[in-house]
Symmetry: C2
């Protein structure tokens, strides 16, 4: 297989568009069949897929990939089974295509109907998690789109095996293999090519802050910004502190490397002495490093000094920034200043405080007495996600099938005109 060049992208897009046009005309049953076939193949060929993944892992070990990335790269039997189940969850969801709010008949008899239609061809840039090939491919096919997937080179053998599985699945369902195309990118050339691929209907960058910022800044195709999560937990004066502690532990230790993990802890001064001592005892056992403001450090002198940078940082690791606040307003102001509008949580038994927090926090997801870790397409019942949008336009929060659609208004007339009456 000769190396792909940026010049090849237009040809790939043209093939994808042709295949997508046909896909847009097949009933949901056929799209679901492709997903069911993919789930079957994932299970049947699990050993081969794991073998390909072993090749990636061996190469990754040789190049001393960071442990967090190694974990994301690994395709265990459990993860493969999880991917198959995610496809089955997608099969069970309603068809997003053709949905609308029904017909309107204008006074002149013109019938208007606005319905959801597929976006067309979607590009996705991702890094080391090979399972994205399955989840994003499944969402794209179910919603009537074609997808160009550019994964990280460290996952290339795994992605190649999964792409092969998609091609078999699409073929079994009588669909074109061009619907799911994987781009092997030796460097960042193809990623950059996608950013400027005229006619691409949407490009979603998934990955590190650097990649996302570069795509948002440079792309000339439509983009949705994803995944920067500087999430806060605010422990109110009226909090159940046991609950607060378990939500904190879940948010910080559950999976620190992801965007819905907690990065900052705000604690009301009335409960700070007890809560910060307990939180520090519990989390520091697991290696979490605390960065606190002066009041926090009076309570727990072991904390490092928090500076402005700590409140801005998405650590994605075993660190947390802490601030003691005197009021809900101070917490809200801090979140507004430093938050990334992804997910924010409050722990309180106060009705008024909780309602005010839900109302006033401007973020994709706002939790009252629950963990920010639920901000996830599968948890939200979307089957999977192509990413978590942190922007306000088009899609916000976990992006499932609807995020991959647009609208079309169709009108049935009898010769109606507007100015000739």
């Amino acid at each position: 297989m000769s190396e792909l060049q940026v010049d090849d992208l237009q040809a790939m897009l043209a093939k994808a568009r042709l295949a997508q046009r046909r896909l847009a005309q097949v009933p949901m049953q056929v799209r679901n069949r492709a997903l069911a076939e993919m789930a079957r193949i994932l299970r049947e060929d699990a050993a081969e897929i794991e073998q390909a993944n072993q090749d990636d892992l061996t190469r990754a070990r040789e190049s001393a990939l960071a442990p967090g990335l190694m974990k994301r790269l690994a395709l265990t039997p459990d993860k493969i089974e999880g991917l198959a189940r995610s496809l089955e969850a997608l099969i069970g969801l309603a068809d997003p295509i053709g949905r609308g709010e029904g017909r309107r008949v204008l006074a002149n008899g013109l019938i208007l109907e606005t319905i959801r239609v597929p976006l067309g061809v979607i590009g996705l840039i991702f890094e080391s998690r090979p399972g994205v090939t399955v989840e994003a491919g499944g969402l794209a096919i179910k919603s009537g789109n074609a997808i160009l997937l550019r994964g990280g080179r460290e996952a290339k053998a795994s992605i190649r095996a999964l792409a092969e599985a998609w091609h078999q699945a699409l073929n079994s369902a009588g669909l074109a293999r061009d619907l799911v195309q994987c781009l092997e990118d030796p460097d960042r050339r193809l990623a950059e090519g996608l950013m400027h691929l005229e006619g691409l209907d949407l490009l979603i960058p998934r990955g590190g802050q650097g990649l996302i910022a570069a795509v948002v800044r440079e792309a000339t195709v439509p983009v949705i910004e994803t995944g920067i999560g500087n999430c806060h937990l605010y422990v109110d004066a009226d909090a159940d502190l046991d609950m607060a502690l378990s939500v904190l532990v879940d948010g910080k230790l559950g999976n620190p490397a992801v965007c819905n993990a907690l990065e900052s802890l705000l604690v009301h001064c009335a409960v700070a002495p007890e809560f910060l001592s307990r939180a520090h005892d519990r989390l520091s056992q697991h290696g979490v490093v605390f960065h606190g403001d002066p009041p926090s450090r009076t309570i727990v002198p072991d904390m490092l000094v928090a500076d402005e940078g700590d409140y801005r940082e998405e650590y994605l690791g075993l660190e947390i920034a802490v601030k003691v606040v005197k009021s809900l307003d101070e917490a809200l102001e801090h979140i507004e200043q430093y938050g990334s509008k992804h997910s924010e949580a409050i722990i309180t038994q106060s009705y008024h405080t909780g309602q005010t927090f839900l109302e006033r926090v401007d973020a994709a997801c706002v939790y009252w007495n629950a963990s920010t870790r639920f901000s996830d397409g599968f948890e939200f019942g979307l089957g999977a996600e192509v990413g978590i949008s942190t922007q306000k336009l088009h899609a916000r929060g976990p992006m499932g099938l609807e995020a991959l659609t647009t609208w079309k208004t169709i009108a049935y007339g009898q010769g109606q005109t507007r100015d000739l009456r």
Copy 2:
């Protein structure tokens, strides 16, 4: 009043944001009251507003503004009454805020609800039509947003009078005047300032192709592209030619200066001899210039020669490009190649041909036996529009209240965690 500077924009945005936060918390009745007050003031102060408009018109005549622009600039009593009615139509519409598809309860008891919330602060750049101040302001207030309006300097006296009316209306309803702020821009500096106003939630450019292209290319804030309409009418072999003629006349002569006017005519070869002769007879009486391909010019030798540029051009005037096609497929290919995905129409009595056209044309609005001129917020029952989106993300076609909202997922828990079970 001293001249506004780009540096003032951040302060205006901060004031708008503060006012918007309060607006987001008032019930719809209060937002509607501001609209009702505005409608009342427009009627009561119609004479003053017309006087201000006369000042603009006088200046425009002195600087020899093009007749099309003069027409857009003029605020006649009819137009003012129309604006008041458009506000009343908005009052009658359901509240877009708080709408959603209801609650979902996850297996662990976590309650999730995704609802529509206001975008925040919206910027609008427009040109000579002062009525935009009323329509866009009404949509913004009804949907819980603040708006920064930067109109063309040729309309500055009219816009100033309408801004004053908004301030009175907002004041009567107990709302902050900072919700509707008009920017007097002596040149393009403030327009450019808006493109880079960090924190602005959405910028909508309305106006000429040059302005829109510049905003889309240069803006670092979120933008929705509007209003380029290279709309086609396809007259099929099975068309009712009387109907086709009246839809053509409406589309070309109703208001040639707008984006939903017809720019190209595609005619099936089976009906071309009769239809093109009749179309040319009828439209050339009104000064319409035809640019035809060789087969059209065989039928009507008076046509000018159409080149590639004619098929690409949005004339916005009394010109039309014509092409004879041999099949529906050829018409669809032409539309795909040259259309701007705004509005496209077919005239046919054939069920199969009509359905295929609706299915296969990729555009915001597709008409079967009706005029493209209906692509308009007021006609669509949206009360008014902030523009007509020609992009696929966030909003497509006429943008009403929903286009000015985003989503927020709120979650009510009892301490649910994801990884600590």
